[in-house]
Symmetry: C2
Subunit: 329 residues, 2 copies
């Protein structure tokens, strides 16, 4: 008797894992005509809006290590992408998730990643509409996120003009200090569960002229904004907001402002706007329940000058390179 | 003198590599308002159409090995995604590319990947609108591809009905045999430079009732189509088209039809359609310059029955699992 081909069962592994992974994710949402399971998702884009699309990966040993729970990894993989949507002033819609992991990875670990990713997706009302699984040497999660923004209202990096004020959300340096052994829980949480500033980004669209999210470090990302806008920035180091937990840890560092200026992964927003719009921006931030501080100004020229508390120029901190493993502090 | 912060130059590594990588890619195209370089791309979706979105990864040691050139890797990473768009009947628009590679990867290898990817993108008029680079233990390329399809015309897996004919494009088993040592160049090319059946997919939209692209193997993928449609398939093994190069190699195998039925990565399309539409489908395929063969029929029930040349049932070949390294032949 031939082995009946009537049941060409999917090999275990792949399809079962996909099933277990997707169970923890929100698969339906606005504009989702067809979610995961076919050759592609089918999506109805909102009429009259542009789409904002970005891709980012988190890789074991590079962006996270054994101190991260699986849930942290899943949360962060999506959150860093939503931060890019936030900095454009876009509202998030859909994500696609490519998961890679070594043979023998416990299914529970992958389910943990899915739970963290699902929690972040639900918190921001985004549907996971597609995905892929593959073997690899280490765990990684590559997320493509798509959002929508009213045509002509996106916050580009290139819109800053001399005379603009620079404003920044939240606090800086927490995520970098959250990597240090024995760091306070509040700082660890900033490192592992970043909160994308989506409400603020949308509130600033139409108010600010330019924005960027701070993934690589405040000075470095402000430098990108200056480069794209063809302007210079003067950063008032003493005005850069820090948290109480940050200040308690950082006061023993040789450069107590170093992590705030140079540490990456805070996923705060920095925006440039004309002084006449500051009051509107502050009201918008209050509605979004996010603190907003003036941290400097835009001038003619190029590059970022940093003024210390004494008003004198101070040196730049070192930056953050996603091609390198997290630097030890 | 403080080190002047005026030039917080991006660390070498990351930004220079991105620059070198993107130079080989088509970055502009239909609907691209803003390509790579800002926090997200900005894209204008075509009015009145749905978007088709998919993500797929190729990983060193899993989907390719040292016999692949860097150009092959880049080509295949995009082509496998375009095949998913093809099977939905969508026309390709945009891609986002997440590249991961080990420290010390020669920049020339990454440029080779970009050239292969760029060649495939140009061949199919798709713009690369965003990307990401990261360290990892092995080279991998994760591509998200987005296309457009007229609302209600997408070719789902779930539309097949009892009485439909099953048609298949091109030839089967070539890519699997292309992995064998000393394989003829024509078969090697099928493995390393798959040609997504985009023109055929679009031509079949509105003609066929269901379609799938064959990445995991004909019997296995036909099984997915049957599962999603709630039907059974009878596959006429002798009608499955094979190439002359395939037949020369396969005649010495214990099961000469094994790779054609079970080998993955041919990226041909299989579609189900009512017999009355066969002539239209054949004309559509002729316009797309792709051979189309009737390989079986859809019945009530579930699963795939395979009939051998003698009309008797034959056993199923083994499938293909993307979580496993390419099986030796």
């Amino acid at each position: 008797m031939p082995r009946r081909a009537a049941a060409p069962r999917p090999p275990p592994g792949e399809f079962e894992l996909i099933e277990r992974f997707t169970r923890a994710l929100p698969l339906a949402g606005a504009g989702v005509r067809l979610g995961p399971g076919d050759d592609t998702a089918l999506l109805a884009p909102p009429p009259g809006e542009d789409l904002a699309a970005t891709v980012d990966a988190v890789v074991e040993g590079v962006h996270f290590d054994a101190r991260f729970t699986a849930e942290d990894v899943g949360w962060k993989a999506l959150a860093v992408n939503l931060s890019d949507l936030a900095s454009m002033g876009a509202r998030p819609l859909w994500a696609l998730v490519a998961l890679a992991f070594p043979r023998g990875t416990p299914p529970e670990r992958l389910e943990g990643v899915a739970r963290g990713l699902g929690a972040c997706a639900r918190a921001h009302r985004i549907a996971v509409v597609g995905g892929n699984v593959s073997r690899a040497s280490e765990l990684s999660v590559t997320v493509t996120a798509v959002g929508a923004v009213r045509r002509g209202r996106a916050l580009l990096r290139s819109g800053a003009r001399p005379g603009d004020l620079l404003v920044a959300s939240g606090t800086f340096g927490d995520a970098a200090l959250g990597l240090a052994p024995g760091a306070p829980a509040a700082l660890v949480r900033r490192q592992r569960r970043p909160a994308p500033r989506l409400a603020l980004g949308r509130a600033l669209a139409g108010v600010a002229r330019a924005a960027i999210d701070v993934s690589d470090g405040l000075v470095q990302d402000l430098g990108h904004l200056c480069d794209e806008s063809g302007v210079a920035a003067v950063l008032d180091a003493a005005a850069v907001p820090t948290s109480a937990a940050y200040r308690r840890v950082a006061r023993s560092l040789p450069d107590p402002l170093g992590p705030a200026l140079g540490g990456g992964e805070d996923y705060e927003l920095v925006a440039a706007l004309p002084p006449a719009r500051l009051a509107r921006a502050l009201r918008a931030a209050a509605r979004a329940r996010v603190p907003l501080a003036v941290i400097g100004r835009v001038e003619r020229g190029s590059g970022v000058r940093i003024l210390g508390a004494d008003g004198a120029e101070r040196p730049a901190p070192s930056g953050h390179d996603h091609l390198r493993a997290p630097r030890p502090l």
